[in-house]
């Protein structure tokens, strides 16, 4: 029998956690094997499953992941050795001399960290961005009338590299700062780096968040299994019923945009934002759900971002693990660098509490958003996307005192419902405009579309012809609307601080099962899959 199918092809579709192969073949076999082996082997089952999974979706590129893990493993041990040597050396010295003696030793350790960071980020730069950089250099040469052109290399990029590289870097830095001990167990570190639910789309975990948990996994508990399955189903509803159903329409608007007027483009931008949110957060529900089955608690990556009152809050609630990574490893290190601190202190004395730290903060913020834009992809439109959000956050920071002053003078209660709703709507609008640029191919195309919203705005309504051209019908729009309403109501309840799942778990079995059956059948009937549908790749898998 030809078993090649086990290795090739089927893996490609598995990048989606809602792929049949993953849900009905890979995951169940993992769970069964995991359940029958003795407790001490379970973690190894997860490790093997993780590498197997990565092999299925990326083939030989799995070597990247392995090398990455090996390098941080060795660097971690090296750092630990240096740290221990420093400790013994310093102990031998009298207290007064310690501080001075520490400096060169710390510098040594810092060298190791820099090596690790350069290795990983540099590698990421080379395979993800070299094409983009060289393209731009060539354009520059062309503008300078120079005949020199550099060849554009192309590398095979393993899926998930943007995610696991950041985990590797965070581990090394955390070891350096003594937040975690260097891991002496290569397998544990490997599992932390490769755990299969998170390898494709994150969340980007810290060593202290998941490594130990993953290594301590035990028997599958009934409660975890049901809760995990529930969570996967909820994510599946978001992805298959909403995101995938909107997909043909969004492709028609953005990829064949010439023939639609401003109203449709505005609708397209809104729908794209919805699609992105449902796709990404739905996938995260699946990731967290799968981890939950094995008894592992993953950090949440979304916290109902569309209830945010300003852009900076939005980014604390959308793709949380990426924002946190940038905050911890770029924002604070930049602002707490010596020169920046001096800048802050002196600026505070001159221009006061609010604007004092703003200067250093803004420089750091710029770095964060430049990196954030680039992280999403090697293109100017992504850099613009980053700068767009940087600009709004900066503006919010600058105007905060003025807004507060105005509100006090005009006796506006900034906590009243109307004011909050206004803020929420404004934030959502700004995000939607940002996503419009994010979706289009290149900045110019984005701007052309954006312009058309205002210059050619004529929303005549969705007549049958327009809908046909959009590749969607009223039934689709209705079911998307209803499903969004479900998600909205659930979010609203969560926003009130109620844990919906715990509340449901207290109900009697008829209600619980009823809800579960309803959810399953809802997905089966209203999902956009099967005949006439083309499967949609998860949107964040390629970042």
């Amino acid at each position: 029998m030809d078993l090649s199918f086990l290795l090739a092809g089927c893996g490609k579709s598995m990048t989606s956690f809602f792929a049949m192969t993953f849900l009905f073949l890979f995951l169940p076999s993992c769970i069964i094997i995991y359940a029958i082996v003795p407790k001490t082997w379970k973690k190894y089952v997860l490790l093997i499953a993780s590498y197997w999974f990565f092999w299925l979706i990326s083939g030989l590129l799995v070597i990247y992941l392995w090398l990455s893990t090996l390098s941080v493993f060795l660097l971690g041990l090296w750092l630990e050795k240096l740290q221990e040597r420093m400790k013994t050396k310093l102990k031998a010295l009298p207290k007064e001399e310690r501080k001075a003696a520490k400096i060169p030793l710390i510098r040594e350790q810092r060298g190791v960290v820099v090596l690790g960071v350069v290795l990983h980020i540099g590698f990421l730069l080379v395979i993800k961005y070299s094409g983009f950089i060289i393209d731009n250099v060539n354009t520059l040469f062309k503008m300078l009338d120079s005949p020199i052109r550099a060849g554009v290399p192309s590398y095979l990029m393993p899926i998930g590299i943007s995610f696991f590289s950041l985990q590797a870097v965070s581990y090394i830095i955390d070891v350096y700062h003594g937040l975690v001990k260097a891991d002496r167990n290569f397998f544990r570190l490997s599992l932390f780096m490769s755990f299969f639910p998170q390898i494709v789309e994150g969340p980007i975990c810290r060593y202290s968040q998941t490594a130990e948990q993953l290594w301590q996994v035990g028997t599958i508990r009934y409660h975890n299994l049901t809760f995990g399955v529930q969570r996967i189903l909820y994510g599946m509803m978001k992805k298959i019923v909403i995101a995938d159903r909107l997909n043909p329409m969004i492709e028609n608007i953005f990829d064949k945009s010439n023939n639609f007027d401003g109203g449709i483009i505005a609708l397209g931008a809104i729908c794209y934002t919805i699609q992105l949110y449902m796709d990404f957060s739905g996938s995260m529900d699946a990731v967290i759900g799968v981890a939950e089955i094995f008894g592992v608690t993953m950090p949440e990556n979304f916290q109902r971002p569309f209830f945010s009152r300003n852009i900076s809050e939005f980014w604390k609630r959308w793709h949380i693990s990426l924002g946190a990574w940038f905050r911890d490893y770029i924002f604070y290190p930049v602002t707490t660098a010596k020169k920046m601190k001096n800048l802050t202190s002196s600026a505070r004395k001159k221009i006061g509490n609010h604007f004092g730290p703003l200067l250093a903060g803004s420089i750091a913020l710029f770095c964060v958003w430049f990196c954030n834009g680039l992280w999403h992809g090697a293109a100017w439109s992504f850099i613009f996307f980053g700068m767009y959000h940087f600009m709004w956050i900066l503006l919010e920071n600058i105007t905060a005192p003025a807004v507060k002053w105005t509100n006090t003078k005009l006796h506006i209660n900034s906590e009243c419902l109307a004011y909050r709703i206004m803020q929420i709507v404004r934030t959502a609008l700004l995000v939607i405009i940002g996503e419009l640029f994010f979706r289009t191919n290149g900045f110019q195309a984005g701007f052309a579309l954006f312009k058309r919203i205002f210059t050619q705005f004529s929303f005549t309504g969705l007549d049958a012809r327009t809908l046909y051209k959009l590749g969607i019908d009223w039934h689709d729009l209705c079911i998307v609307g209803v499903t969004l309403l479900i998600v909205f109501v659930v979010s609203l309840i969560q926003e009130k601080g109620i844990v919906v799942r715990d509340a449901l778990a207290k109900k009697n079995i008829a209600v619980r099962w009823g809800i579960l059956y309803a959810l399953i059948l809802y997905i089966i009937i209203f999902g956009a899959y099967g005949f006439g549908y083309i499967p949609v790749d998860p949107m964040y898998a390629h970042f």
Binding site: F5, G9, T21, L25, D473, L521, G527, Y529, F531
Partner: protein, 320 residues
Amino acid sequence: MHKRVSETMKAFIFIAILMLLLSGLSQIMRPKDNKELDWKHDQVAHGILGEPAGTVDVLFFGDSEVFTSIIPLSIWEQQGITSYCCGTSRQSLWYTLQIMIDSFQKQNPKIVVLETNAIFRYFTMDDFILHGAEFFFSVFKYHDRWKSISLNDVVADINNTYVHSEKGFHFAKDIDPASTQDYMSPSKHYAPIPFVDQFYINLIASFCREHGSKLILLSTPSTKNWNMSRHNTTAELAKRLEADYVDLNLLTDEVPIDWSHDTKDKGDHVNIYGANKVTAYVGKYLAHTGILPDHRNDPAYSSWKKDAADFRKKYKQYLT
């Protein structure tokens, strides 16, 4: 331990109820009349469901190769054999088996002909699982019908009223010549059949065997889709399945395709001129098996006579 048992019991009950719900839903979602099928669900091929029970003796399956090259009504005219072409665009073997099972509800053909291009069509593991589930619960296949569901779907029985008077044939008269360079040049190589297809071809063969239908593998002429390495594999497969194998690509004397004239798209498919030649040979071949009755003088088949006459009138100048 007691907790374990009760939890396992609960899981089983949960799944059992789910199965019941799914089969109930499948009853509702299944189309009650093949005239409601849309392009997505290949109405023309499903016209077979509207044919009176037990009247069709030969069924053709396969992808577009088969519905462009076999003219059932010409076979009727020449040999009096009733046949229907259940070919669909890019048909995969899982779909072949689905239509086969559906059409066998009312028909019990003596011969099943499978065009061999479909055997090499790769489909993903995802398709394998999803379409596998469709065999058990048709709600997975017809779930999109929620858009047009009515009370009738809940209460009515299945009653297929749509028939395709040209019996599944797709007419094409365009001419776009093909190059015959390397076409069927000798090879010792064996083209691999994807695992998923191997699985299904076995199912199809045993389904035919169970229903007493003779399976014939047929390779229609195509410079683009057919070559010697595929021929080699198929010949071996036919031997294993104990099926007949006819490769028209090699029978250049019997089926003299003129590749500068008889193809509509550079050798991918034949046009009506090529179809005439293919059908003439296939008709004779079928008659030669000696197990198919000539229905031309049977008054019960008068509708075939009429359909054939209409067909000839419509495409007079193209038919031989």
